[in-house]
Symmetry: none
Subunit: 187 residues, 4 copies
Amino acid sequence: MDKKQAILKSVLKLVNREGFYHLNMKNIAKEANVAAGTIYLYFKGKEDLINALYSMIVNEFNQHVLQGYEDEKPVKENFYDMLNNAIEFYLTQPDNFSFIEQYTYAPFLFKENQNDNFLLLSPIYKMMSVGKKEGVIRNIPDSILLSLIHGPMNTIIKLHLAHKTDLNKRGAKQKFFDAAWSAIAVV
Amino acid sequence: MDKKQAILKSVLKLVNREGFYHLNMKNIAKEANVAAGTIYLYFKGKEDLINALYSMIVNEFNQHVLQGYEDEKPVKENFYDMLNNAIEFYLTQPDNFSFIEQYTYAPFLFKENQNDNFLLLSPIYKMMSVGKKEGVIRNIPDSILLSLIHGPMNTIIKLHLAHKTDLNKRGAKQKFFDAAWSAIAVV
Amino acid sequence: MDKKQAILKSVLKLVNREGFYHLNMKNIAKEANVAAGTIYLYFKGKEDLINALYSMIVNEFNQHVLQGYEDEKPVKENFYDMLNNAIEFYLTQPDNFSFIEQYTYAPFLFKENQNDNFLLLSPIYKMMSVGKKEGVIRNIPDSILLSLIHGPMNTIIKLHLAHKTDLNKRGAKQKFFDAAWSAIAVV
Amino acid sequence: MDKKQAILKSVLKLVNREGFYHLNMKNIAKEANVAAGTIYLYFKGKEDLINALYSMIVNEFNQHVLQGYEDEKPVKENFYDMLNNAIEFYLTQPDNFSFIEQYTYAPFLFKENQNDNFLLLSPIYKMMSVGKKEGVIRNIPDSILLSLIHGPMNTIIKLHLAHKTDLNKRGAKQKFFDAAWSAIAVV
DNA sequence: GATGAATGAGTTTTCATTCAT
DNA sequence: TATGAATGAAAACTCATTCAT
């Protein structure tokens, strides 16, 4: 059994279950079936542990979201695929979503990655520039486009996880994609 | 001098400056120019204090966002006004935004208002039902519409406060509104 | 309304209800319908207040216990009367009993009256010396006699107040008196 | 070195020296040569710690007081032995006595053992029922008998520890036992 | 590598007392 | 006299981190 992975998984589970506020080393150890001291064999401390988990998730996300992406495909198709990938990633691993959200909104909690907060959005930027060149995506600032993609996705996942909507319902995702696309597409 | 308000303002300032994680009663007291014990004259404890602040901000937001709303106005106009009000509220009081975000993403931190997390969205729901009736807003589930309104707004404010975009730039807001409207409007 | 008396009564009630451990000035004030600061107009502080109450009760007890005492009466009669007075005093004012007990067993709590712990027993000493002279009470050390009088009385009251016995039952007191007398009487 | 025992011993010493009122965790730790936090490894908190100590002492007492007790012995002999055991227990470990007294008279301080207050008297009850059957002990309610045994014992120990009497003096105990026996014995 | 008892600085909270009104 | 808001020292308790085994 890989203790390092077990520890990271514990953090993920606990942050999701009880929030950053109640996260403590003893519980992490207990959840991972490991002694408290063992954590310090793999991580410098609490901060390091959390930052490591964050990096891990961001990497996984970026890999996942780009699956099926091909420059040759129409932008719209790539857009749909990416949204789909992103949503799938979080719906199948909801703990990741909760963790990322909490991490992002904890200013100065763990300074190291301060500038990486939007790192996980990099694939989206790529697609936007192509779309603009081809004239299928509105010629408005990237940051505004970003808000029109990332924002709805973020909220719809949140609503789904809070059982306020059901993205698995027949046609639900399609409606969402179409509407989201309208926001950024040239008419 | 109202000590209760001073304490609430301190929390807001400190949460924004250093995050929930580093918030402690001694600093709150110092920031409010008050003795530590004084906080307990007005609040039962840390949780109560934070919940009180949350309620206060949500109330202020709801009042602010509905300014200028009139049933007689076209839905689109009300939509623009509301988005505008919301953005203005947070841009002029950015600490409020940061606080609400952190509060929302801290599961089980302070259970009391668990169901109020989306309370501050109530004005939006009102507008959506009217728009659907009139046929100007897409006939898709409210939760999806919500994600298309709340999501972009949320992200654009975040980007603005992080200096990744500038909503005060000439024409910026208008572009944003138009695009956001496209997402929810019937073509 | 005499605020000083109200304060003393509050202490008595609260010590009885919740114990010394939970006694605090704010509750005393509330119970007495008085502001916290008012207590300090009548007493130097918490210690002084409690010591004053102790002295008050001891005085009342001493007065009460000697009612009907007359040097001319037979020692046995005076003994019965005193036991009877003592028991009546505490049964009609059980708060007094609880207070005295707690005060007595709180070493160094309030140093002032340290040596007065057995002060309230002075009437008993008087009777013992007379009884010995007359040859009706055993010629054993006063301290042992004291234990044989004070001890049973103390315990029987405690048991009565804890509903483990009922001194108001017909004949109960008489049985108790007779047995207690046997312990100290010359056969 | 057993830290748990060291902590319990510290509480005993400090309660005896300064009373419940002044008992605090920092001093307990210091007295036990242990860090403050260590106490919480073995006890949930102050209440738990004190309740644990109470249980420990009551158990020790009950074991000690029954030493030499045999159903075959005459009741009077068992009575003398038990009184002797009890007195010896408390005279050799006076801190135990003070602690038990304070614990008993602190209503609602620590609720858990509320009904065990008289638990430590259980051996006495046993003896009384036998004595009554044999006709050597007065046929009066157990509760009254109890007061005539427990009461004097309690008070004489208190007086001894307060240096108001000296049970180690030649013949002192015997006088006390004889008198105490007279109270409960059939003439 | 692995443990988990122990630490003690730091945190929340309480409360006797003061003092401006 | 009387008030009760305010104080701040002291209390109970937490928890990241260390280290002997």
